[in-house]
């Protein structure tokens, strides 16, 4: 839910990275954090377990510049991907303006991707959103893995509304910014329409 402050001329939008466990959501944020201009980003907050699995969320604020005299800030969140953290995932989706679904391209994880998209649809609906209309990007991560399925196969299984599909290797930063830009662009166009 975009927060527009006319007094301070700021607009704040929330993007949530979603996907099954170990698909690369946190890696996306970590890469953005290390590469972004320190003046343009805040601290990376990570609520994780001792084994570095996301426990509640990761959070990174990003200043994107100004548009029509308004400072545009994106608040990036990741959800915990492990199946039993569903209650937390639902909470993190509250008030989100856009979703980047990070799919694990590895063939053995196809089913987990499909289940995660179904889970996302349910949690979005419970928060009053519709997966068919919310700004949404499909990132096919781990394209470098030897067991990665082809892009065509993944699109056939996971793409459902003609959303942008971006190939990525988040550990090397490939496709990370493209995914973020694609989602941010959709959010800003929604703002224009509304």
């Amino acid at each position: 839910m975009t927060f527009i402050n006319y007094a301070s001329h700021e607009i704040n939008c929330k993007i949530v990275y979603y996907g099954p466990g170990l698909c690369g959501k946190t890696t996306n944020l970590q890469w953005i954090y290390t590469q972004a201009n320190p003046m343009k980003r805040g601290k990376l907050v990570s609520l994780a377990t001792e084994t570095d699995r996301t426990l509640f969320f990761d959070f990174l604020p990003l200043d994107m510049g100004t548009i029509k005299g308004f400072k545009v800030r994106f608040h990036l969140y990741t959800v915990p991907g492990q199946v039993f953290y569903d209650a937390s995932r639902k909470l993190i989706l509250r008030g989100c303006d856009g979703v980047i679904f990070v799919a694990d391209s590895q063939r053995p994880r196809l089913e987990a991707n499909i289940e995660s998209i179904a889970n996302l649809a349910t949690n979005l609906r419970d928060n009053g959103f519709d997966i068919r209309t919310i700004p949404y990007v499909l990132q096919l991560n781990k394209r470098d893995m030897p067991t990665a399925a082809s892009q065509g196969e993944l699109e056939a299984m996971l793409q459902f509304r003609n959303e942008p599909v971006i190939e990525a290797v988040a550990s090397r930063g490939l496709g990370v910014l493209d995914s973020l830009k694609a989602c941010a662009r959709q959010i800003l166009m929604e703002l224009q329409k509304s």
Binding site: M1, N5, Y6, P61, I67, H75, D97, L191, Q192
Partner: protein, 165 residues
């Protein structure tokens, strides 16, 4: 449910700022933050430079969201008040209306009783303003009465410039 953006104008923002400024002085606390339940800072008063306000807003919203989840598990609507006691500083978190979270950080110069008393009064005042903002967000506004949004003129070029394309 359609998406309802939260829009705050200068007058309302000024009123919010005045209320939390008064709260900070009257409760003798260090800092007061007003945060949106989605994790965005709305306003602040006191020695804010000593704290990473962005992280605080996000973590507070997460804290409240998680506590909301716990409340529902045990059949409660919500826990409207959270108090965290530290060695030197303490954190008092309360819900204001549907969207707001009031965060008060205080030390031995104040007391929980005083903070609770002042927060109760400030919350009533903040609630009036929040209700006005929320009502506007929820209302079906006729096209002729809509304010002129600067974002209606966003172009592809504006967005490209944002990303440095």
């Amino acid at each position: 449910m359609t998406k309802m953006d939260l829009v705050m104008f200068e007058e309302e923002f000024g009123q919010l700022q005045e209320i939390i400024g008064r709260l900070q002085r009257d409760s003798a606390c260090k800092v007061v933050f007003l945060v949106d339940k989605n994790g965005t800072q709305i306003a602040a008063a006191g020695d804010v430079r000593s704290i990473d306000a962005t992280s605080l807003a996000s973590l507070t919203a997460g804290n409240v969201a998680a506590t909301d989840g716990l409340a529902k598990l045990i059949g409660e609507k919500e826990f409207s008040l959270l108090f965290h006691e530290g060695e030197k500083d303490n954190l008092h978190i309360s819900i204001v209306g549907k969207r707001g979270i009031l965060v008060v950080i205080f030390d031995q110069n104040s007391s929980l009783a005083l903070v609770r008393l002042r927060v109760k009064k400030a919350s009533r005042e903040l609630l009036e303003i929040f209700e006005r903002v929320e009502t506007r967000a929820e209302a079906q506004v006729p096209e002729s009465a809509r304010f002129e949004s600067p974002f209606s003129e966003i172009t592809d070029e504006d967005i490209d410039r944002l990303f440095g394309d």
